[in-house]
């Protein structure tokens, strides 16, 4: 059973330690906010000037508080607000502990491509290069292959780079993979997925971790759907 977008977000939420300061990108990373355990304190950062936000309850939206995904957000106790200069000083100065981003391609060396496809529409970079080049732990949340089944974890990126050697860990619908000095290390597989299947859908060679395990994602979290209201 491969993971859904919600399953991937749940798995990443479990990985973030108590006391971390984390930027969540658009797409699957943005779903992580819904799965953070109340047992730990994780301050979420938003590029437009928030440290410490959470999903907002219906009817409690403040028109003056929105996150970088243009969603109404709630401020948590201990939150702070600031301008773009300070916000990106937190990023460039490596004060944030983690950035969770989407990916189009990740290479065996941890190079990341996630901002442009040449010849396709209007390009946009947002804060992706700032985050990838400067945050110490860059987690990538993505499907293991493209819609047409092409591997997204590759020997070397063919799409324009966001930053070189920046990714530390990859979370997909099939696996969790560490990026190490010695290449990619497969540390977890989704329930019912074999290491061989993961390798067959990965262009770059994978080394099996000695403690390779099956991902722990309760089925009820994997089956979630987002509701609009």
């Amino acid at each position: 059973m491969s993971l859904t977008r919600y399953g991937i977000a749940y798995r990443i939420a479990n990985e973030l330690p108590d006391g971390s300061y984390v930027n969540l990108g658009v797409g699957i990373p943005g779903l992580v906010v819904h799965f953070l355990s109340k047992e730990k304190t994780v301050f979420l950062h938003s590029e437009n000037g928030i440290l410490g936000f959470d999903a907002v309850h219906e009817g409690e939206e403040d028109p003056y508080v929105r996150n970088a995904n243009e969603m109404a957000a709630a401020l948590v106790p201990g939150a702070s607000l600031f301008d773009h200069s300070l916000s990106f000083a937190m990023i460039r100065g490596a004060h944030l502990t983690h950035a969770v981003m989407g990916g189009m391609q990740v290479s065996a060396q941890g190079d990341l491509a996630n901002w442009a496809v040449p010849g396709q529409g209007v390009p946009g970079v947002g804060g992706a290069m700032d985050l990838a080049a400067n945050v110490n732990n860059v987690f990538i949340a993505m499907t293991h292959t493209t819609k047409t089944g092409e591997p997204k974890i590759v020997t070397s990126c063919t799409l324009p780079l966001t930053a070189e050697k920046c990714v530390t860990k990859i979370f997909t619908d099939l696996a969790v993979i560490n990026v190490t000095e010695e290449g990619l290390e497969l540390v977890e597989v989704a329930p019912g997925i074999s290491p061989e299947e993961v390798q067959s859908k990965t262009e770059a060679p994978l080394r099996l971790a000695s403690n390779l395990t099956v991902m722990n994602v309760p089925e009820r979290f994997n089956q979630l759907q987002l509701v609009n209201h």
Binding site: V65, S85, D130, N134, E164, L226
Partner: protein, 239 residues
């Protein structure tokens, strides 16, 4: 000294053809952007403008309206590809508008550098990417950095919640974003605000943008519902 103005047309009267204009707000479509000042600029009909913003406008009013009307020659921004930026998308695909794509943090810092009297700065952001083309690379303590030039503007059109007649500004919630660095970076700074209070009513400790950076203050008015994109846009997971 009283920096209060009473006419939107008056605060943009000296904007000239070819001016470089920094427009505050995250995507130019909400209460963090100076909607009525932008509409006055559109009425004035200046052309060949260079616009600095995080995005490239939304819909066909405000910044999106300037682009739709063909008044903008070039946009310097980080994220022009939002769904609502259709005016820009059409002009870009027709090759009628120039785009200088800048990483978001680099954009903020280039503005700040201009406002702080710096020629530029070195950053690791963008090293060995397409956006590094033509830029100096320097190794500092074993790491590669790109040189990014300061980005000054002729005008900044920004938004704040409160102002006093001395031009001191206070923001609310996430309104601050680019407005602070844009106020620093421009020759002439116009702030559209929700409230103007008498001199002395703002606590010096609450001022976010000191009045030295601001030239003109004008009271805002309600913004058309049609321009308030994504105001709901909130989604939740049912656990």
């Amino acid at each position: 000294m009283n920096k209060t103005f009473h006419s939107y047309d008056e605060v943009v009267a000296d904007v000239f053809d070819g001016a470089v204009i920094a427009v505050g707000g995250f995507f130019g479509n909400y209460n963090d952007t100076p909607f009525h000042v932008l509409e006055a600029l559109r009425r004035k009909g200046v052309s060949n403008l260079t616009i600095i913003n995080n995005g490239a406008g939304s819909g066909d009013q405000g910044l999106g309206g300037l682009i739709k009307d063909g008044l903008v020659r070039k946009v310097i921004c980080s994220f022009p590809n939002t769904p609502h930026a259709w005016a820009f998308r059409e002009r870009y695909q027709a090759q009628e508008i120039e785009l200088e794509l800048v990483p978001q943090g680099t954009l903020a810092e280039r503005l700040r550098a201009a406002g702080a009297g710096l020629g530029g700065f070195y950053t690791r952001t963008g090293v060995n990417t397409l956006l590094a083309q033509g830029k100096e690379v320097r190794e500092i303590d074993g790491k590669k950095y790109l040189f990014e030039k300061a980005l000054p503007a002729d005008f900044a059109l920004i938004k704040a919640q409160k102002a006093d007649p001395a031009g001191n500004l206070v923001y609310r919630g996430t309104m601050r974003n680019f407005n602070l660095v844009m106020a620093m970076a421009a020759e002439v700074v116009v702030a559209e605000v929700e409230e103007i209070v008498p001199l002395g009513d703002l606590s010096p400790e609450e001022v976010h943008t000191p009045g030295i950076f601001v030239d003109r203050v004008i009271l805002t008015a309600p913004v058309p519902e049609s321009h308030m994109f994504n105001q709901k846009g909130n989604r939740q997971v049912k656990l």
